[in-house]
Symmetry: C2
Subunit: 110 residues, 2 copies
Amino acid sequence: MSQRRLDLVFATLADSTRRAVVERLASGPASVSELAGPHDMALPTFMRHLKVLEDAGLVRSVKKGRVRTCHIEAAPLMEVQGWLAWQRQVWEQRLDRLDALALSLEKDIE
Amino acid sequence: MSQRRLDLVFATLADSTRRAVVERLASGPASVSELAGPHDMALPTFMRHLKVLEDAGLVRSVKKGRVRTCHIEAAPLMEVQGWLAWQRQVWEQRLDRLDALALSLEKDIE
């Protein structure tokens, strides 16, 4: 994942309305009106959030007749999670090395 | 983790310089000048990024004499990773249910 894509996905998720849409869509597709329902904002404002999610590749939507149905796109979420998991692995390995070092120092003292 | 904290941590990570600092600190503490070294920007600009990281709780720093040493703070990274892992779990469970449904439909047809 390019740095620009990571920038975009992190920035998109830095908003509680957009995270709520991701949470809702994780459990299945939904129409725009279903998605907008719980949010106390004007529809055009909500649509702007949806556009940010689509532009970042986190949501795609399909129009059938008068209903637009939204789906989650898993790949960008998994890539961002992958970046975080990688940092965690690096720092846990470092802590493991520190633990091993502390143990061997203790043994030297004994 | 509150919505405001999640907003803050996601927004902080939406920048390649700040992610590079997190990546560097995952493998061990570093002084400000070590951290700034690889980045082609004026020191005050770099310090602003470091301040954003500290304000979001991702980095803490300790000054000893003339050297300020920075450390990673794991908790916010883990909480953001937790949010992403949770979405993934919800949507994988849904896919599992869809698979199970498809299998049972196939059996009905046989």
